[in-house]
Symmetry: C2
Subunit: 386 residues, 2 copies
């Protein structure tokens, strides 16, 4: 079959393979990015869906506006400011999860060969979304706070990208946080070079320690912001959103019209009901508490079973812990053995566009209890260190 060229340039779906392996019930998976499903507020959501059926009825099942259900857009606008000014409904487009946000941005902005800057390493799903539109991906060197402004500036002198994609809070995969001073530095560079920034913030609310930092969206101009309910409510609902200037929102809607017309109408309305019940802040508190315990359990298990074998970045929030094995060359080489030992992780190479050889691994702690985390790290140590 004669597929589009970009399909030849990508390998088989590693995510797909991992999801299949994760279906084995005795498997402990640190590979996904799954929220803890036992914490989903399913009863509150059930009430929300009931209320939509009872109070709004049939119109909730009809075609809807491409930009999203207006009350949801209003609520989302009320949660954000853009460069110090309140966002308006016209700045919001609701997406079918944040992954669609990435794909819509790619389709709306990228011609084949266009350059996109990324953090090194970065989210695999962003790499996939941009590669599908045949972008040239360039990774910017990072330190413990993310992108190094001098390195960004050096790259900007060489080539003009369509945008810079980054995750400032609890970055995927590294868990890093970009501090306030670094955010401001980065925005200064962006302003000088008229650089569009795509700020992806799926994990910002999952803060275990430290102060809440302002979004780049709120600190400067020329920022497109991606948000989602996947990590704070439920990913199966596929409700994400983009905040951007009106002209960009209009163009994203034109793209979205051809892509899926609009996102699930009933679900958008149910999310509004859930939000109006005022349950989200309390639910986020629960998530923070539980995920912090699990993060702690993973840190302790790593210290216990892997001791001097790894260097890790202890994340102050989010879902992922990034670690480097000191005495192996390539973390990819151990996937088969760890699957035999019934534990899954993602080898670091998947988060680099050059598929480099690395001894890094990404470990997810959000969907396993402390006991399971302990056992999983024990198995991992046995499989990799022996």
């Amino acid at each position: 079959m004669n597929y589009a060229k970009w399909m030849n340039d990508i390998g088989d779906s590693f995510i797909g393979e991992m999801l299949k392996a994760a279906q084995n019930p005795s498997m402990i998976s640190f590979a996904g990015g799954l929220p803890a499903h036992e914490l989903f507020p399913d009863q509150a959501l059930q009430r929300s869906f009931q209320r939509v059926f009872e109070e709004q009825g049939k119109p909730a099942l009809q075609y809807a506006q491409t930009a999203g259900h207006p009350p949801l857009r209003e609520w989302l606008a009320s949660q954000h400011s853009r460069n110090g000014k309140p966002a308006k409904m016209e700045n919001i487009v609701v997406t079918t999860g944040s992954q669609q946000g990435l794909s819509l941005l790619a389709q709306t902005f990228l011609d084949p060969g266009d350059v996109v800057f990324l953090e090194m390493p970065t989210y695999l799903g962003a790499i996939q979304a941009f590669q599908a539109f045949r972008a040239q991906l360039r990774m910017i060197p990072c330190d413990e706070q993310g992108i190094i402004p001098e390195e960004l500036e050096k790259m900007l002198q060489e080539v003009t990208p369509k945008f810079l994609y980054l995750i400032p809070n609890y970055q995927n995969p590294s868990g890093k946080v970009m501090g306030l001073a670094r955010r401001l530095q980065l925005l200064r560079v962006a302003q000088i070079y008229d650089l569009l920034i795509v700020e992806d913030n799926p994990y910002g609310e999952l803060r275990f320690e430290g102060e809440k930092l302002p979004n780049l969206l709120d600190l400067g101009e020329n920022v497109i912001y991606l948000g989602t309910f996947s990590k704070v409510l439920a990913p199966g609902l596929r409700v994400g959103y983009i905040v951007a200037e009106e002209d960009i929102v209009d163009h994203l809607c034109q793209t979205k019209e051809g892509v899926d017309l609009h996102s699930n109408n009933l679900t958008q309305r149910a999310v509004v009901e859930f939000l109006q019940e005022g349950l989200l802040p309390g639910h986020i508190e629960t998530l923070r508490k539980v995920y912090k315990e699990r993060r702690q359990a993973m840190v302790e298990a790593i210290e216990r079973y892997l001791g001097d074998e790894v260097e890790m970045i202890v994340p102050a929030g989010g879902l992922f812990l990034w670690a480097r094995f000191k005495n192996i060359a390539n973390s990819f080489d151990y996937v088969e053995e760890t699957i035999r030992q019934n534990v899954l992780y993602v080898p670091g190479s998947f988060f680099y566009t050059d598929q480099r050889i690395t001894s890094e691994v990404r470990l997810n702690y959000s969907c396993s209890t402390p006991e399971v985390i302990d056992e999983g790290i024990r198995r991992l140590a046995r499989a990799i260190v022996g």
Copy 2:
């Protein structure tokens, strides 16, 4: 802002403008393709969602498989055969509405400049989906049964398209049906030229008269089939699907992974519940009966108010009536006046890739009662004929 090139080549969203105008409550809209919302089986769907929450609970809110919820794929497979053999779950990918099916096919198959063959005229949303991937669109001349095989063959001798897109049942916008002999002729040509056919069948179940005809999918090889629950259940749920050979399904899933990871998990499960309650066939009977009355009301109103002014194709099913005004040059010229008269239609030019001047119009009858249809056609006659 520096958007992707394809965005410069398209105009403002006419669909978007029409949807805005349609929000005026005194507007009679024949412009959309909306199912009758008063017929939505909202109480049965409410029960379906309830059952998912009660019996499946939290896993229904988690991330899901990209190809779709397995029981839904199983059910869909049971409804289809491919070239005489039963379809399998592996032949199915669930999509976020059929519009996503079109976009996934475009992204998976099309490089900029690739050729796609279409019926003349054809569905605006398909034109949009394919233009977004910078395809060269070529329309094939049609007679009263759709694509003329000799014309197709002539075009195939000139250029090799990636695929031919068509709607064999109650075509959008023309309402035409492709007869069995024509289907077989077309498949013979397709086989000779190794032509991939994309068969879009959103309206097939909405049959008022005539025999049910077999799908191209079931009559030949090298067919990709698009189906949807939007017209027989509820479009706001955004549940469509594609039936294709396994290798194509695998590639579509790779694309979909980057596009939205998967479609709404909860909703897919609720649709399975609805289907298992066995209510779909009875609901479709209701739709047929009501839409047939409305089709009849529109035909009679056109005869009453427009008499010799128009030639129309009386559709034997589906949602749309296609008519040509005999004494005007360009149906687009009357949009403003009809909006003033509070009635909406889609000018025929939107269904041609060359935006030709035409006196044709597409009229939707599914979402208005016979009385409203009568009044709307009266207004239309006043606005266009005077």
